[in-house]
Symmetry: C2
Subunit: 300 residues, 2 copies
């Protein structure tokens, strides 16, 4: 999986770093504190731990693909990252995956206590919707922001991330079939990837066919991302992954199901499918194509 | 505190029961399930346990006071109740108050497990914002719904409910002063009462002065409600309260701070202040005045 030419990768790295910095700066602006000191400290340390910011970057690149103003999308993209961070805090709780490390640091409940961690996750979800409700200069109007909030809520909801997490909890230490495994991850990971891309595309006033292409791209990308996560978990170390690894040994993963080579082949297939979905956009989609290559070749 | 004439109380009871039934029916319509069976069952049993629905009723009565269409406000009022239910689920968790009973039933984590309870609370908060984002026939436009979502998010956020809960966790088993006690409860309880009334008033296109009056009413009402809760906790039984009582003995409450008589006097003062805030509305505010009398004389 190292067939990508070096110069293109340097471009992608510059693009990712530039967009990542935009997202970091906006997250700082949008993280408004009040009088909940302990909970704010917990939310802040989780939100500003070193992170790739792939989901908000996906929103920005989707908007750019459709000639939208990426600056006008940044706060909505940050809302997705807040929700993602909230989901990581919950995933790590003792009653869920009971993980001690996340993003290279002690996980939120280890550093701040369980009650404070739960409130921090709740607060980050709340703040995500507050950002969308409040609006920002140059951003979509109230109707557009309402559509973004609907999209985000659907990605989280009873047929989204929460359905994936609920099924995941139900299947721990039980052998599951491939459709169940795909069900779990298309929702735990795929739903927010899809919402990220859709929110970016919608802000750029995507036509229905354009939106469908971008969503198909993101859906395949999200699943490929999860498979690579399973591969890193199965073959890497905690320092590389930045979180507890080996935790998934007792669970069915794409690696335990298909083996390392089988999982790699599946990730490549999904990436090919995600890139094929971008065909209508020609060379304008090159950054998103490279992002897909990056997702499948990354080591953490 | 039983000086209120019987006929008025019968009217209020009819009003409360009528509005409560409207809220129940709308909550049923708005509780849309997906594929997260365990989490949905947990959220459903918490949301539809027998409840007074005081917060959404407050939204409806505030809208009616200002000649707004209460039907157009019902879904927004239900969003507040979803958030309130989510907060109860979290409050009862082992890492928070560790309560075994709520609304006369085993608390959510006792009946459904801790992980599922946390996800149910998260899902209810998410669904509240989804309802506001999606809109409904006869309801406010996207801008109006965005303002309601902002108001709700602010009531929950880092200077709202979460600040109250954060301070409450920090002060357990420590003697606190009166301003801290008031800080905690003005946020844990007061903030959602205030948001309920504001959302109802805003939907009825309240003028700024009208909104300020309704908010002042709700703020005092919320604090009075909490004091009466402390009184019921200190003097009643679990069956009466529908939740664990005596739990607060190790905490500073309005009763431990001021004694039973002192707390009763304070509740009466707050109710008088809440009723005084309604003076500009004359007799149209009679239902809200009676609601205040009910809140201070209730036994559960």
């Amino acid at each position: 999986m190292a067939e990508v030419a070096a110069p293109e990768f340097r471009d992608l790295e510059r693009t990712l770093e530039d967009r990542r910095q935009k997202v970091e700066a906006a997250l700082r602006r949008l993280f408004v504190t009040g009088r909940a000191r302990a909970v704010e400290a917990a939310a802040e340390s989780s939100l500003f731990a070193p992170a790739k910011r792939l989901r908000p970057i996906l929103s920005l690149l989707a908007a750019e693909l459709l000639r939208g103003d990426p600056e006008a999308v940044v706060p909505a993209a940050c809302a997705v990252e807040m929700v993602h961070t909230a989901s990581l805090i919950l995933d790590d709780l003792p009653c869920m995956d009971d993980a001690a490390t996340r993003r290279g640091r002690p996980s939120c409940h280890v550093a701040h206590g369980e009650a404070t961690a739960v409130l921090a996750a709740f607060a980050l979800l709340n703040r995500a919707f507050e950002v969308l409700a409040e609006g920002w200069p140059g951003g979509p109007d109230a109707a557009g922001r309402g559509r973004a909030a609907s999209e985000l809520a659907r990605a989280i909801g009873f047929d989204g991330m929460i359905a994936g997490q609920s099924a995941d909890l139900a299947t721990t230490e039980r052998v599951i079939d491939f459709p169940t495994l795909e069900f779990i991850h298309s929702r735990k990971t795929g739903a927010l990837f899809t919402a990220s891309a859709a929110i970016g595309a919608m802000a750029a006033r995507a036509r229905p066919s354009e939106l469908a292409s971008v969503v198909a791209y993101a859906k395949n990308l999200g699943l490929a991302f999860q498979i690579v996560d399973d591969l890193i978990d199965a073959t890497g170390g905690t320092a590389e992954a930045g979180k507890d690894v080996g935790k998934d040994l007792k669970k069915t993963t794409f690696v335990s199901f298909s083996g390392v080579e089988g999982a790699r082949a599946l990730a490549r297939e999904l990436i090919a499918a995600s890139q094929a979905a971008l065909a209508p956009f020609g060379t304008r989609a090159e950054p998103l194509r490279e992002l897909a290559r990056y997702v499948v070749t990354r080591r953490r």
